[in-house]
């Protein structure tokens, strides 16, 4: 058995002779991988600000209080339009408030010559 052990140790020693061998093309591929990984990392590190800057809609959404704020705003707008178009009975007609209709003619007693006389 000792003889076999010695043989085995010799075989292990022979295998160890090849232990530090790395085929050239394999070394080149490993190095190419390493450089590719470094390049990707370098590219991602040079543009983190651009990647992190929020877009216009994102900024607007934040300014308005997120999706809850935008939802509330939209509801308020819709309610305003509806009230404008079909106001409840207890509210005055907004159109009338802006352009009041009157049966009285303010200029009924004035003639064109009176108006000209006032200006003159």
């Amino acid at each position: 058995m000792a003889e076999n052990d010695t043989d085995l140790d010799a075989l292990f020693a022979a295998a160890r002779q090849e232990r530090d061998f790395l085929p050239e093309d394999l070394a080149a591929r490993m190095l190419a991988d390493a450089q590719a990984v470094q390049a990707v990392r370098a590219a991602s590190e040079t543009a983190p600000e651009q990647a992190k800057r929020p877009g216009l809609w994102s900024q607007l959404g934040s300014a308005l209080g997120g999706w809850r704020g935008i939802g509330g705003l939209a509801t308020a707008c819709a309610a305003g339009v509806w009230i404008g178009l079909a106001p409840p009975a207890f509210l005055p007609d907004p159109a009338e408030l802006l352009y009041p209709q009157s049966d009285t003619d303010l200029f009924a007693d004035l003639s064109l010559s009176d108006l000209n006389a006032e200006e003159g």
Binding site: N4, L11, R19, D20, P23, L31, D33, A34, V37
Partner: protein
């Protein structure tokens, strides 16, 4: 000033140092290739596994925490896991039936006795159960300590000792009939 350790090289690599990439390839590439070659017994597959193991090293470099483990230990473990994955895939594809060296395996064109001996050892290694083969390769070819092998294989030191002892006995038995052929009976 001594050479920087693997830890330091990995940090340099993560910071974009090209020389660190070359140094790590020179130091650790052969380790991954050697183990994969002995475990798989096939050069082409060993090259694929070693390249993938190194790729994982490059990718994990920024997350490496120096001092927590040896880089080489991590690499051996990844390499062995990749070997196991490959063998499982092979088994699924039903191509794992031939343990002898294949077309592009270890047979050298010039059959020097040294090469013949290495081939004989490889053929005997391929007959060992997977864990025994791994332990024997790490102990007797990579010359790692038992505690380090235990860390790599995630088993106890006693289990490593048992695996290597049984593996050596099985190898000696497998090679016993080939002493003359391998030039050990000449004298």
């Amino acid at each position: 000033m001594g050479d920087p350790g693997d830890d330091a090289l990995l940090v340099l690599f993560a910071n974009g140092d090209g020389q660190a990439a070359r140094d790590l390839t020179g130091r650790l590439g052969p380790r991954a290739y050697s183990v994969a070659l002995r475990v798989l017994g096939n050069r082409a597959e060993a090259e694929d596994v070693a390249q993938e193991a190194m790729m994982r090293l490059w990718q994990m470099a920024p997350d490496w925490q120096p001092g927590r483990a040896k880089v080489s230990t991590w690499l051996y473990r990844v390499t062995l896991n990749l070997c196991l994955d490959l063998k499982r895939r092979r088994r699924t594809e039903d191509l794992d039936a031939v343990p002898e060296p294949q077309d592009d395996s270890l047979s050298a064109p010039e059959r020097l006795q040294e090469a013949a001996r290495i081939d004989a050892l490889q053929a005997a290694l391929m007959q060992l159960p997977e864990r025994q083969r791994q332990a024997v390769i790490l102990r007797h070819i990579e010359e790692l300590s038992n505690p380090e092998i235990a860390g790599i294989m995630d088993i106890s030191v006693e289990a490593v000792e048992s695996l290597t002892a049984r593996g050596k006995r099985a190898l000696a038995k497998a090679l016993a009939g080939r002493r003359t052929e391998l030039g050990y009976d000449d004298g």
